[in-house]
């Protein structure tokens, strides 16, 4: 009888084959490290900008670059047809993505006030608690670290605490700013930013548990991001002064928008890390961006030139702590038992929002679902060419400030980042076709 060979169709809760699970976990860890490099590298173009421009305006211009990148990069990689398909399958995620974008913009603005009031050395470790909060939400709401065993708990939590300690040392070493008055407000602002960013990972996880492609999620995320940032900038600066400041900043628009573009590449890797290893591992790993930011600062912009031995000891100690923490987390990937708990959470989401079980499962496994046009449309080409054209136009207006820049190191770090982009991009393509 032919029925003897028939097997029931896999459901959301059917275990993912062990080989596939291992590949996806390794891919997620790799994406976390690549995210750190690109998020840290995004600070480099911003350092070329005159500090006289208002921080809120700087943020707004960066977010404009981010917006363009968040639409053109997905159009370039897979085409917007895939975005439409994802939205048809899980329309509720538009709301979640916009909400996450709004949270990012408010948190980013709070960090400006935090740095201004208490300095980077106090502010950075406070908002860096976002990864600890991410672990908490991952455990509480999405079954992360359930049935994980004490070794993995120790690896993830110990690694995150280690990275927090390292981040504190690095922030103290890289800070040249004494803490002025209004300290309480600055501390509240930094903590507020940490809470907003830590909670922003709830929508992230929500999206990826239900199978959404990170390339689709970011296109709606950025709508919330740009709308909120524009409202905040107009609200705090006023429309006319803001416009005058934007016009007068045209020589640095390219650098700021380039910073936003680089940041999006890092964020994209962070989204894939979140998708495949969860927020409890993906977020701490991408927080290694501070190490990369410090490398750019020290080697390319000579920020610690003339500093004492104590500062260098703090940098070395902080870097080693962060690296050890990241390694501990990287070695604590989810087991099959823990992953089955994630699948329970995915099943719950699938039932609540009426999403096809097969779509959710395909998303978790990083494989294709349904038939989607793979050719790029006219809209995709318009997005790609329009963004390229705008960046070329801005580059012709840009001026490089007179700064002591270590070009050799800049090239070396850029090559390292591009190598990570290429290898991680190829790994993503070969394993999931960017799903």
């Amino acid at each position: 009888m032919p029925t003897a060979n028939l097997q029931p169709a896999p459901t959301v809760q059917t275990p993912i084959p062990a080989n596939r699970l291992r590949s996806l976990q390794a891919l997620g860890i790799f994406c976390g490290f690549a995210a750190g490099a690109w998020l840290g590298g995004a600070e480099a173009p911003i350092k070329l900008v005159n500090p006289e421009i208002s921080p809120i305006t700087v943020s707004l211009i960066m977010v404009l670059g981010v917006f363009l990148a968040r639409w053109s990069v997905p159009a370039f990689i897979r085409g917007t047809a895939h975005v439409r398909n994802d939205v048809r399958q899980a329309p509720h995620l538009i709301v979640w993505a916009v909400l996450a974008g709004c949270m990012w913009a408010v948190a980013n603005t709070l960090t400006i006030y935090a740095i201004r009031n208490v300095g980077l050395s106090i502010a950075f470790p406070l908002w860096n608690t976002n990864s600890l909060l991410g672990i908490f939400w991952g455990f509480l709401l999405f079954n992360e670290l359930h049935q994980a065993g004490w070794k993995r708990w120790l690896g993830v939590l110990g690694g995150a605490v280690c990275m927090f300690g390292g981040a504190t040392l690095l922030a103290i070493a890289s800070s040249h700013q004494a803490a002025p008055g209004k300290a309480a407000l600055g501390i509240f602002a930094a903590l507020g930013a940490g809470i907003l960013w830590g909670t922003m990972y709830i929508p992230y996880r929500k999206a990826y548990l239900t199978g959404m492609n990170p390339l689709s999620f970011i296109t709606f995320f950025t709508v919330g991001e740009l709308a909120t940032m524009t409202l905040l900038a107009v609200g705090y600066r006023g429309a006319t002064p803001l416009w005058h400041e934007l016009v007068s900043a045209r020589a640095v628009l390219f650098w700021l928008m380039l910073g936003g573009f680089v940041w999006v590449i890092g964020d994209l890797f962070q989204q894939y890390a979140t998708k495949y290893v969860g927020i409890s591992r993906g977020i701490p790993l991408s927080n290694t961006n501070q190490l990369w930011g410090l490398l750019w600062g020290i080697l390319v912009f000579h920020e610690l030139r003339g500093a004492g031995q104590t500062v260098y000891a703090q940098v070395a100690g902080g870097s080693i702590l962060m690296a050890l923490g990241a390694v501990a987390i990287a070695l604590s990937s989810a087991t099959a038992r823990e992953h089955s708990s994630w699948q329970d959470a995915a099943e719950r989401e699938s039932e609540r929002y009426g999403i096809e079980g097969e779509y959710v499962r395909a998303g978790m496994e990083g494989r294709a679902y349904g038939a989607v046009a793979t050719r790029r449309s006219v809209l995709d080409w318009l997005l790609i060419l329009g963004t390229t054209g705008l960046f070329v136009a801005l580059a012709t207006m840009a001026r490089l400030p007179h700064m002591d820049i270590g070009m050799g190191w800049a090239v070396a770090l850029a090559v390292a980042m591009l190598s990570l982009l290429a290898t991680c991009g190829i790994a993503l393509w070969r394993t999931t076709r960017f799903r």
Binding site: N85, R88, L185, E356, A371
Partner: protein, 46 residues
């Protein structure tokens, strides 16, 4: 068969049903409350 799988169920995805599912999802209210708190804090700081 493939096209049937790829087609979304229009009844399940009616906007009202989606909005109701979001509104009754406690996960939605956590980030929303945090966002409102962040906006209030920003207002105090400015």
């Amino acid at each position: 068969m493939l096209s049937q799988i790829a087609m979304p169920n229009s009844t399940d995805r009616a906007p009202r049903r989606v909005l109701r599912a979001i509104a009754t999802d406690v996960h939605f209210w956590i980030p929303l409350c945090v966002l409102l708190g962040g906006l209030l804090l920003l207002d105090k700081l400015s």
